[in-house]
Symmetry: C2
Subunit: 349 residues, 2 copies
Amino acid sequence: MITQAFTPISESGRNRLIQELSKKIGNPSDSVLNLVRSIGDDCAVVRSDHGRFLLYSTETYVEGVDFDLTYTPLTHLGYKMVSAAVSDILAMNGTPESLLISVAIPNKISTEMIHVLYEGLIRASDVYKAPIIGGDITASQGSLVISITVNGAVQEQSITYRSGAQIGDAICVTGDLGASYAGLRILLREKAVWGQEPVDSEFSPDLSEYEYVVKRQLLPEARTDLIDTLRTHGMVPTSMIDISKNALQDLMQVMVSSQKGAQLYEAAVPIALETRAMAEELEEDVVQYALQGGEDYELLFTLPEKDVNRLVNHFKDFVVIGRVTSKHEGFRMQLASGEEMQFDLEKLA
Amino acid sequence: MITQAFTPISESGRNRLIQELSKKIGNPSDSVLNLVRSIGDDCAVVRSDHGRFLLYSTETYVEGVDFDLTYTPLTHLGYKMVSAAVSDILAMNGTPESLLISVAIPNKISTEMIHVLYEGLIRASDVYKAPIIGGDITASQGSLVISITVNGAVQEQSITYRSGAQIGDAICVTGDLGASYAGLRILLREKAVWGQEPVDSEFSPDLSEYEYVVKRQLLPEARTDLIDTLRTHGMVPTSMIDISKNALQDLMQVMVSSQKGAQLYEAAVPIALETRAMAEELEEDVVQYALQGGEDYELLFTLPEKDVNRLVNHFKDFVVIGRVTSKHEGFRMQLASGEEMQFDLEKLA
């Protein structure tokens, strides 16, 4: 028997594995004429006709890893996954056009439950005007697994990569951060209190007090309103990403792709009152909710100062949280206390 | 507690669930101008510019359901999944252009194993000239799960649906059938003999005697050669499907979509000598291997008689296995014994 190397993914790290695989795959744009950008941004980008770029993104969600059916209603789950998929298209300044959805179904999930899941998927596909045009239904062992591919498009002159941030640009973010994580914290607390309910039972504690944060966790909305406003007024961000996993890591991705640094202002990070109340109740750090909680599906983007002044006339729901600096200045945050903190890019990656 | 209906998928059936969900999703082509065809064929079809149609297909493979790592080398698995994906594009008479691949990885699978899997994925993507342009890596509980979305294209005048078969057309199939299933049978027999080996050990019984059928199971090739020949000589099948799950069911799909019947000739079904030998050794019915075994990834298509005569001058690896008849004649097969058998469409569906 040959002894083989066995490095668990948890040890080498997901991001490192993605980097290694990307290198292995190589840069297909050398061989495929119309491929503009592949792995390393929110979407793959393929050139079509008349200056139109096609956008593709795919993501897989596994029960027990990415979602928990004990506190996630299936309609909400469907809606949330479509919001997350659409958010990747928006992060390229694009418009979602269609969805392909594959579902692998374990025995414990009934036909009725799949219908409920599809109600959420279809409702979101209506809201975002991205119809479900194909997919697959297959069996699974143990976990429900859902894969979503979203197709979109953007005009060449509007496409926004992670890599275009310029020194002096304002770092902006829509909405507020940390609410989704606050919602997750309260749901996890209630789950612990109520005990592990069977998957098909009604889990409905009174969460009306926490409505805002719970809704942000279970039914996030992708920020099409920002993209529509930018388009209407002919503005294009220099870089953009959506906040899916972790705001700090997402910002770091933009900085690394753009080969720039960043100066953040802690006091400027937008946090809702409901999120602050939740963190206080649980005696936790609300800034950590905001910067590392993830799943807010807000858009993080960089804009030249003059465009910030223009945008603010047409769109109110964003704030400036920092400035793009030169690469050698690193990634820093001025804390509310006045102190300055330096982030370790290696650790964030 | 509210008692809810619970119908297992196994009871209602996968095809029925897909039909129900398709009805629920509705026909998005009413709302989306450029959507030509959605659920119900091998690919979704979206109109692009200059008479070009874009093709999309997605599929999810779950360990323990769709593949077994005890006898499937990971390079082979990667190659096979890409062949299967590409085959869906070919079934529309299209050309594959790019792939998006998501992998959900359980703890038992190492970084090294994922690299090996990607070697297979990349090798196939090179062979089919369809680069991997995006994807996702995520964690899984228990099973390895792989989702592949394939993008392709075809000119409007060449697109081939399941629905175009005409009375009198020849029913043709490339290559030979049942070999993949014969390969599966021998691998399962060896697995039983060798016992359940751990996933990272070397499972390598001497299968050289069965090389052809084992290769057809583990490393199937999508039939780009047929599609290339049809294009070169300006021929377009009236209908087409790839043989993925079950040749009889696949043919039935074509007949139902086309609202036609079929007359098959058992003696004409192409079966390799190696497949016959295997079935004989296991004392099993080789015609069942061929017609219901699946995973051959051959192309099943219908052609007017005059085109059959033209095609045969340029492409040798296909045979005529029957004729398209009117719908009320049903789905029949003339057995080698001379008897005639009538298939129950309800049961096949």
